[in-house]
């Protein structure tokens, strides 16, 4: 029945979820046929709702196929007479690692969690102990065996989850978007673990993802769209079909995109290896006639790169002219023109307890009106704390936060001193003035959250009203506006955030994840804040969703001219959408300035654990081989612009060179 060579065999596989009225919904998977060999490393790509997670759940019989054949390791999964024992035996062999690291750890100690699977299987001591120790050693978490899971980082938790699967001695592991909620460092940890398992243990690996850079690491990429297989091949083969991928909401990696553009512009560049920076660098190197391949430089040596003040032509996008002045302000003392300003701000969690933890120390930053400021840093760098300082949710332990030049955390005593002399209080008695000033402070504090709108991480989880309309109206209603004004604002905000008219009367819980997020953003925009602060606005979205959210934010900023702050750990997004960038690491602000300045320090950025844009990495590889390129190239556009004249001059030659070199 099944091909003896293949480990996973699916033929005409279909699956439909049960709809609301008991009738089957439109199929989530239709007519899927594929074979995966033992020991393969396969990436399964697709946008949210494409059916890729459904496929994963079929492999483990969390869901049962509606029709078609499905065999895994010789076990027929469509057999209706499968016993409980057979099911367990199967699940032991095919392990699953899920998206949210918090929701798959059961026990309150790391080692007990790793033991959970084998305990269920009835593995006796001392075998059990040995398995737990081995699994923890494989993922490099031995030192954390007696820790509580909630104290670990996302990447560490995910590694514990992998260890929990490994302890069951599986043949195959399915990763269901296991890196989607992690920061770049955590993602790296998990991907390295996956690769080790595949290469050194011969484990069959299925990585379901929408990150193209991750898919490039696999041996084989399968693209699923609308429940069916769209493409199946090596990363190179799949990524060479850029337009078809884009049509289904996926983006190719930056370096692949660059090669595509150069090719389209007539630069030649025949050859393979377009899915990774190293491959692209080899290809471009040959075309540029650079000397032979060299080892890519380590991050540390790259730290010596000259800060490129040489980036003369770099400038803020149109409409942000005051940014340049503000850049100087942030560095200097004079801060006129800054919308929001942090001055030597610090913050400590659990101050005065043995658990005290410094989240921010001596951070000074200027956020100008009229442009987008990016704050970048990995998890635990203090960036989320900084967000809460901006709208008064948290009060700094030291230093001041100014909005339009006014200290937002004025104490009553300070206010008495500074406001007493103002005309409206001068005529009042001491007591009356005190009362009036106190009322003024309360009013200001309340106003602050409307003036500085904060969109928190995963904001879709804060929706609660019966309809989308009411949820967006929650903020304006709290502001005490008239019904007409509220209505106007809700509709405006909905349009800005991309919330469609006909969603307004629906329940927010009926929408998809990306749609909910837009509703949540609309809810903050509806307060018409002077400063809009967004914490990881695109986290967990697929490429199409990401682009949509960022384009909406940019359009909003252009139309309203307000200040926007985006917090993220994605360098590529920062490079594309932000005018100014501040970099936080270990509670300190280590870099700030225009994005040109900041991205010229790629070595430093990598040192603190941030991922530099892939195209920047590619350019660095070329520079290491002697290419005459500036260091601060961080967008595909810029790279293409620089490389094209160099390539077209010698296109024919380069193409020939590529063949002879092979």
């Amino acid at each position: 029945m099944s091909d003896t060579q293949s480990y996973i065999h699916a033929a005409h596989l279909c699956f439909s979820y049960e709809g609301r009225n008991g009738e089957p919904d439109s199929p989530a998977l239709r007519d899927v046929s594929l074979d995966i060999a033992r020991g393969e490393y396969v990436a399964i790509l697709g946008h949210n709702g494409s059916g890729k997670s459904t496929f994963a759940k079929l492999l483990n019989l969390i869901l049962e196929p509606t029709s078609g054949e499905l065999t895994v390791g010789g076990t027929d999964l469509t057999n209706p007479d499968m016993t409980e024992e057979e099911l367990m035996r199967h699940r032991r062999r095919v392990g699953m690692v899920f998206q949210n690291p918090d929701n798959q750890l059961v026990a309150t100690l790391v080692e007990e969690d790793v033991a959970f699977g084998p305990e269920n299987l009835g593995v006796p001591q001392p075998e059990l102990r040995r398995r737990v120790d081995d699994a923890l050693a494989t993922v490099g978490m031995t030192a954390y065996a007696r820790q509580e899971p909630h104290r670990l980082s996302g990447g560490q938790k995910q590694r514990v989850a992998i260890a929990g699967i490994l302890a069951m001695m599986p043949e195959c592991i399915v990763f269901d978007e296991s890196t989607a909620m992690l920061d770049p460092a955590g993602r790296r940890e998990v991907l390295d673990t996956i690769r080790t398992l595949n290469r050194e243990r011969g484990m069959t690996v299925l990585n379901i993802t929408h990150y193209m850079n991750e898919a490039a690491e696999a041996d084989r990429v399968i693209v699923i769209n609308d429940g069916g297989i769209l493409m199946d091949g090596s990363p190179d083969e799949v990524f060479s079909r850029r337009d078809a991928l884009r049509a289904v909401g996926l983006e190719v990696p930056q370096c692949t995109e660059l090669i595509h553009r150069l090719r389209a512009a007539g630069a030649g560049l025949e050859g393979t290896g377009i899915s990774t920076p190293a491959g692209c660098a080899a290809l471009l190197g040959r075309a540029l006639g650079l000397p032979g391949e060299q080892e890519p430089p380590a991050a540390a040596s790259a730290a010596e790169e000259p800060p490129a003040g040489t980036a003369g032509d770099a400038s803020c996008p149109a409409g942000t002219t005051d940014c340049a002045d503000a850049a100087a302000d942030a560095a200097g003392e004079d801060a006129a023109g800054a919308k929001l300003r942090l001055e030597h701000v610090g913050f400590v969690y659990g101050a005065g307890t043995p658990f005290a933890q410094t989240a921010l120390e001596d951070v000074s930053l200027c956020i100008p009106a009229g442009c987008i400021t990016g704050v970048i840093g990995h998890t635990g760098s203090g960036k989320s704390t900084m967000m809460q300082l901006l709208n008064g949710l948290a009060k700094p332990a030291g230093g001041k936060v100014y909005l339009d030049g006014n200290d937002i955390n004025l104490t009553l005593r300070e206010a008495l001193e500074s406001l007493r002399t103002q005309p409206q209080y001068a005529s009042l008695s001491q007591r009356a003035a005190k009362k009036a000033i106190r009322a003024e402070l309360v009013r200001r504090r309340r106003e602050l959250c409307f003036r500085v709108g904060l969109v928190m991480q995963y904001p879709e989880y804060q929706l609660f009203e019966e309809t989308v309309y009411q949820d967006i109206a929650f903020g304006p209603k709290n502001m005490g506006l008239s019904p007409e004004e509220i209505d106007a604002r809700v509709r405006d905000a909905a349009a800005f955030a991309g919330v469609e008219e006909d969603w307004l009367q629906r329940s927010p819980f009926d929408l998809s994840g990306g749609q909910k997020r837009r509703v949540a953003i609309a809810g903050v925009i509806a307060m018409r804040p002077e400063v809009l602060v967004l914490d990881e606005p695109a986290a967990g979205l697929d490429p199409r969703g990401r682009t949509r959210i960022f384009e909406r934010i940019c359009a909003y900023q252009k139309q309203t001219g307000s200040a926007v702050v985006i917090v993220s750990h994605s360098m590529e997004d920062m490079a594309q959408y932000c005018d100014r960038v501040a970099v936080l690491s270990g509670a300190h602000l280590i870099l700030r300035g225009s994005r040109e300045e900041v991205f010229s320090h790629t070595g430093l950025l990598e040192q603190v654990g941030l991922d530099i844009p892939q195209v920047t990495h590619l350019v660095r590889l070329l520079r290491a081989r002697g290419a005459d390129l500036p260091a601060n190239v961080y967008t595909v556009d810029r790279a293409a612009e620089l490389l094209l004249p160099r390539l077209t001059g010698r296109a024919g030659q380069g193409g020939a060179g590529a063949h002879s070199n092979n």
Partner: protein, 273 residues
């Protein structure tokens, strides 16, 4: 919030911390029984001394142990006052003819009750909550109650529920804080207004929290399925609790103490309740 340990567990390295949680549970029950056997002054002296010894052994700061009295302080004071003013006896302390009559017996009774409750709370703290993690306590209960499985009491399932609850409490606390902040950022006001208004103001926190808890439960169930969870049958344990010589010795000691108190009590030395 992340770094605050859940429950009252006070990490330290003491004889009591190292004891098997089941032994501690049994010892605590025996000790509490002996507290209630006590009814004369000599007994209470011995009991108080033993309690002090226990606190010293556990290396828990006395201040922390006494803090457990805080929630019951009013009831305690009330009971003592009732005893002082309403116990009739033979030794009237107040001058004859006063409307308020206080007898020596009343004072003794009040003192005994005070001691009893203080020692009771200190002992549960020292044997259990301060020196045993909630999870070890759950394990101990599961194993001690496991004979009840024969009469179909779902002991394992109940223990699993407690374990999962313990695992998710820090997560949900953190999440509550996040949602509250998110709604505050939209101008929600949790502080002002009367009781009804405040309760209503919490709706924007509870609804998302409930939704997320449901989602977590779903995902956790799936993850547990994937890891072959099928109830307690045929499960092995990574950490098997084993009675050691010290555990047995400790239980014998407490039993001996209880018997000692029982006989001491019959001697009736000092005021007897």
């Amino acid at each position: 919030m992340k770094n605050i340990a859940f429950g009252q567990y006070y990490p330290a390295d003491s004889v009591l911390h190292r004891m098997d949680p089941r032994a501690k549970l049994i010892a605590a029950i025996l000790y509490i029984v002996s507290i209630f056997l006590c009814s004369n002054a000599l007994c209470f002296v011995v009991l108080a001394l033993s309690a002090v010894l226990l606190v010293l052994l556990s290396r828990i700061p006395l201040r922390l142990v006494l803090r457990t009295l805080r929630p019951v302080i009013f009831i305690l004071a009330f009971t003592c006052l009732i005893n002082i003013f309403f116990t009739k006896g033979e030794h009237l302390l107040t001058p004859a003819g006063w409307r308020v009559q206080i007898y020596a017996e009343g004072l003794w009774n009040a003192l005994f009750i005070l001691l009893r409750i203080t020692i009771l709370l200190a002992a549960t703290g020292v044997f259990l909550t301060f020196t045993t993690t909630p999870i070890a306590l759950t394990d101990a209960l599961e194993q001690l109650l496991s004979p009840l499985k024969k009469i179909r009491v779902p002991v394992h399932e109940m223990a699993m529920i407690v374990t999962i609850a313990l695992r998710f409490i820090p997560l949900l606390t953190e999440e509550t804080e996040k949602i509250m902040n998110a709604q505050k950022a939209r101008g929600a006001d949790f502080q002002s207004g009367g009781l009804v208004r405040r309760a209503r103001a919490l709706l924007p926190v509870f609804i998302p929290l409930l939704g997320s808890a449901m989602k977590r439960a779903d995902e956790l169930a799936e993850a547990m399925d994937c890891r072959c969870y099928h109830g307690g049958n045929g499960r092995t344990r990574l950490h098997v609790l084993r009675f050691r010589a010290t555990d047995v010795a400790a239980m014998l000691l407490v039993t001996a103490f209880g018997v000692g108190v029982f006989f001491l009590n019959r001697l009736g030395i000092g005021y007897t309740m």
